[in-house]
Subunit: 466 residues, 2 copies
Amino acid sequence: MTVVAARRANRDIDAVLAALRARFGERLTTATSVLEQHGRDESYHTTAPPDAVVYAESTDDVVAVVKLCRDYKMPLIPYGTGTSLEGHVAALEGGICLDVSRMNKVLRVSPDDLDCTVECGVTRKQLNDYLRDTGLFFPIDPGADASLGGMAATRASGTNAVRYGTMRDNVLSLEVVTADGRVVRTARRARKSSAGYDLTRLFVGSEGTLGVITQVTLRLYGIPEAVLAAVCPFPSFTAAVDTVVATIQSGVPIGRVEFVDPFAMRAVNAWGKLDYPIAPTLFFEFHGTKNGVDEQAAIVKELAAAQGGTEFQWAASAEERNKLWHARHNAHYALMAMRPGCRAWPTDVCVPISRLAQCIGETEADLKASPLMSGIVGHVGDGNFHVDFLIDPAKPEEMAEARRLNERMVMRALAMDGTCTGEHGVGYGKMDFLTAEHGEGVALMRTLKQALDPDNIMNPGKVVRV
Amino acid sequence: MTVVAARRANRDIDAVLAALRARFGERLTTATSVLEQHGRDESYHTTAPPDAVVYAESTDDVVAVVKLCRDYKMPLIPYGTGTSLEGHVAALEGGICLDVSRMNKVLRVSPDDLDCTVECGVTRKQLNDYLRDTGLFFPIDPGADASLGGMAATRASGTNAVRYGTMRDNVLSLEVVTADGRVVRTARRARKSSAGYDLTRLFVGSEGTLGVITQVTLRLYGIPEAVLAAVCPFPSFTAAVDTVVATIQSGVPIGRVEFVDPFAMRAVNAWGKLDYPIAPTLFFEFHGTKNGVDEQAAIVKELAAAQGGTEFQWAASAEERNKLWHARHNAHYALMAMRPGCRAWPTDVCVPISRLAQCIGETEADLKASPLMSGIVGHVGDGNFHVDFLIDPAKPEEMAEARRLNERMVMRALAMDGTCTGEHGVGYGKMDFLTAEHGEGVALMRTLKQALDPDNIMNPGKVVRV
């Protein structure tokens, strides 16, 4: 019997379900379809259904479930929208999936302080819709319309991170239920503080393994006075990436700069009925005052022209810009549509910007030499890029090839002093790479995990092995 | 016998000193004057000398000292420049002071990646001197010329934080020696990462209580194309603070905005032989392109004029600007010169910007009604301000009055959802306030401390009680 099976066999799932049913009634379900849906994410990882799903509607609900799981040493997996990519929500040891999607209230917006507090299940689009009339927005935008609790838990970022930072930088404070059922607010609402250990950053990126995030206090930004976007094809990968590197090094405070490879451009065109040139392409966005935006755009145009990128298609109106970014944001889904019925194996790395051209270049050569269908897109201003492998998980040779290419890409990034994941997180898909990246640091992470979750009930089997 | 005395009595200091002497020779000292100097910081806190001071010159040296202290359960207090303000370096239980000021090499600067790695003892001014010809600078500037390891340890900030963030945002990675003598690098050099728990942020702000920071990898910035600074007096506290709040809310990416109260202006004039008007005053700095700076300045001029602030003194040349900021940076020392022979009790809080006017206003009323001499200065763009009480620590009534005023100010800030310290840190001076601020969070901090330093040897008696 494996360790996991032994752990499972020792648990009294019936008692836990009875207790949950007594409190949650219809909000507890063991219907197979619901369990299946909650045991998988948007990637290739095998579905691992929990024993039950319970729908929390309040912090008190979360506390009740956590305390019950604590008493019965039952695994507990927080679930927002299920859009993560490294198996974060897989119930590897069974247990209770805590669905927080109904905790979806915007609790407070303070335009004067440029911040807000939301329940963990509020999604990024829901928040921005809510903010529509305030002149404010929240910039962090992973491809999916993820929950803000989940985005905090995976330290998500997206296209705006080059200008506005990631969830690490934009979470002011969290409410968290710890593994022993305590409710902790990690920080006050001040913009900065030197008051003790940084509990906020301890939980940002902890992927549900240290506690359940129930509320998120976020920084907001004024919608810029002027916004200008553009798409520009380049004669080569190197030309496009070198333009990005030059832009970052020039200090232009660019709002967004995104790379899309020719195959992904083809996918984006087909998916969105667009007709962009099929070439290594950069998507730009400039934020600022009217003059500031013009200044930034002029500098970047010059840097692009030096690399042979001269065919800028500008999008100044909100409608044109939305169309452009809609295309970029849906590259993942567009790529999947290139091979009907496939699953995607999405992976990402991030390297120091000086190594980006080499890292993307060598990765592209790998992909070109492989029979697998794949596309490269990236938040290149951060040194971060993604590969989507389009695979049939039922075919072992395709899985093996994707695994081989992924490993080469990650080890290449690590050799360049980069990270095994810029924004997707570790889940269980990248645990081995975490060790390759952090060495002794993983032992330290394990110490933290054991201190905060001694019975290993919080999303077990993710981030660090215990 | 107190707990501390009992801990002391159980230690074999002679064995530790013998072992240290064998390895470090002349780099170990027990000379009283050196011990005294290492047992105090720049504030009013009582000197608490260590039993010995050892000068480390390498990470290996640090490891050797940490392992010895671990074996003998001997307190170890890291020491950079001794410019902290809440008793951080006081050897409350005796033990070994680890002076890292000789670990002062800049190890690497990468202009392409806008980052660098330094040994922990390099000071901020030393780094900026080193960078002089690169077109880059490091913006974080507490008043003192502190060491970068110490700045990371206290999560320091300064006048540029409103634009560039604090040490939390600008440390990319640390090398740390943990309490059990392991050397851990907390992160790679990528700009962002979702690879596991945020070990970097765990140690930033940990004040030497979780490990010894030996190397710091920092973000750097291009020196802006244009810089423009100005000083402007205002008819009232409220007028000045309201101008700051309006500036932040307008979204102007201001480089610096600093408040100095009339008494501190008098001190600054006297200390620097200047003749600024004696009034609630704002110091501004604008960073950007030539046009961008002019645009920003025009907006802020208008916002200031609406509050009666019209007498801008502009400083465009580097020399004029340096003179202006030199005056502001030395406000702490200038204030101390107003009462010869006094000590300063410096304290700081930080509140959401919408509460800043009320918080400073009520604090000023408190100070005005008190016989104590004191000045208010602040990094008001962050909602952060400081009070310096000028006291004679030998006079209990002065200490009591400073304590009373400090407590009122901190509790006021907490009631406004602010923090008990925006940038000075906790040391042992603000431990009680930490509890008032974090509640259950302090228990979580204690769990972290006990997990990472089970024998409580790393700077014991600071941040959290164990």
